[in-house]
């Protein structure tokens, strides 16, 4: 789609530039031919002007249609259709590292995320930090992670591999170091990996999380065998008004979902 758009625009741009350089050369003041054709009062040609309102308009119209269609097709909120059941991973942008929580698997990681290949991965994102933007360039779109709200994106790796992930929105001094590794593995390898993380000594209690939340740069990867069950909900509602009921999560989280 990008290629089509570029070619369409070049179809207008190249003739324009060709005309520019040709006229510049042909009608330069030193050229005797320029004297012969000098036409100081030639200023209008309704037909001609209509052409160059119409041609860019036509190109833009085509691109607009492509724009509409591709925007809907690539909507981060659109679920990826697949035979494989999606894996849900919750992402929390912190100062200056990424926390990944696997609700179904019961594990958590820092600066490393693994998922099975050819499987839709449904990311739910929030932040306990200034606005950050979650991006794995080789897998697709980026999406902002912002505090007090939840955004989402579905990504899918078609094969196995290791990819670089990063933050693209400046969020403080440790911004450039806020990279992570994303790995897509076969289903068996993924299951083996989750099992091994389950053996980890580290547990992400609320206290451990609060320590993690403190600003730090260039964090090494970390793996937690379990996490406090209210962790993600607490982070998401951290800046919400104090709950009136005994339940620590507000009854309706819909308002925070983007």
């Amino acid at each position: 789609m990008i290629v089509t758009a570029v070619l369409l625009m070049l179809a207008v741009a190249i003739p324009l530039l060709a005309m520019l350089y040709t006229f510049a050369w042909k009608y330069r003041a030193g050229n005797p031919k320029a004297d012969k054709t000098y036409d100081p009062e030639r200023t209008r040609g309704v037909f001609r002007e209509l052409i160059w309102w119409a041609i860019p308009a036509a190109v833009v119209a085509v691109i607009a249609v492509m724009n509409w269609q591709s925007t809907h097709a690539l909507d981060p909120y659109k679920a990826i259709v697949s035979d494989n059941k999606p894996v849900t991973i919750q992402v929390v942008a912190l100062e200056w590292k990424w926390l990944f929580i696997y609700p179904a698997q019961g594990i958590a990681t820092v600066n490393f995320v693994e998922f099975p290949e050819a499987t839709p991965v449904h990311f739910e994102l929030t932040a306990d930090a200034p606005m950050s933007s979650f991006w794995i360039p080789e897998l697709g779109s980026q999406i902002y992670a912002m505090s007090t709200m939840q955004t989402q994106i579905d990504l899918m790796a078609s094969s196995t591999g290791e990819y670089v992930g990063k933050d693209t929105e400046i969020n403080g001094a440790g911004y450039a170091g806020m990279t992570f590794v994303a790995k897509s593995a076969s289903q068996e390898d993924f299951d083996a990996w989750t099992a091994s993380v389950k053996q980890s000594q580290n547990v992400l209690t609320m206290d451990a999380y609060n320590a993690l939340m403190a600003p730090s740069q260039n964090n090494p990867q970390a793996f937690y065998s379990s996490f406090d069950k209210n962790l993600y909900g607490t982070i998401l509602t951290r800046y919400m008004p104090p709950a009136t009921s005994s339940d620590s999560m507000p009854a309706n989280m819909e308002g925070m979902k983007m």
């Binding site: 919400m240 008004p241 104090p242 009136t244």
Partner: protein, 189 residues
């Protein structure tokens, strides 16, 4: 003739300024609309606003617009004393409006509903407070205008300034109508 041209330019320029001020208020209205529901567990509009006090303020301000209009008519007719009298009335009413507003603000703050309590309150105090600040500037303007009319009479220069003042005052009145409607009325109903 020369004064007419200068007057025309000044008034047109003043209209342009009023439009920029309107855009500024629009942003404040927009922020209020977005943040109105964000009470963060604190007092909501319904808990704070009193229709009677808002109505009183509105009537006071509307009346001041009326006296301002009378001042403009007196100035047009060259009646110096009349102009000063109606301007003074406008000042009195404007000062009353401002006093009522400050009283309302202190009532809120005393109950803990300050601008720091929630986003709703921040946007309320800013929107209404900015309007109040404009009123205060208007009051100062009346003082200066009255002094100038006293000292120099109703010259083309002073009359032109009075015209611009009345535009300013009526503009603030209109903004207040919007505030009254969107903040107080919609907040209470």
């Amino acid at each position: 003739m020369k004064e007419e041209i200068a007057d025309d330019k000044s008034i047109f320029g003043f209209w342009v300024y009023l439009m920029t001020d309107l855009i500024l208020f629009s942003v404040l209205f927009g922020a209020y609309a977005v943040l109105r529901g964000n009470t963060f567990g604190g007092p909501a509009p319904r808990d704070l606003f009193s229709l009677s006090s808002a109505l009183t303020s509105t009537l006071v301000l509307l009346t001041s617009s009326f006296t301002c209009g009378l001042a403009a008519i007196a100035a047009q007719r060259g009646k110096r004393n009349g102009t000063i009298a109606w301007l003074t009335a406008t000042f009195a009413l404007g000062a009353t409006f401002l006093t009522l507003e400050l009283a309302e603000f202190s009532r809120f703050v005393a109950t803990g509903a300050s601008w720091q309590r929630s986003a709703f309150l921040s946007s309320f105090f800013t929107l209404v407070g900015t309007h109040g600040l404009h009123i205060a500037v208007g009051l100062l303007w009346i003082v200066v205008a009255v002094i100038q009319v006293r000292l120099r009479g109703l010259t083309p220069a002073t009359t032109s300034k009075l015209t611009r003042f009345t535009l300013f005052w009526h503009f603030l009145d209109i903004v207040w109508i919007f505030i009254f409607t969107t903040v107080y009325l919609l907040g209470i109903i």
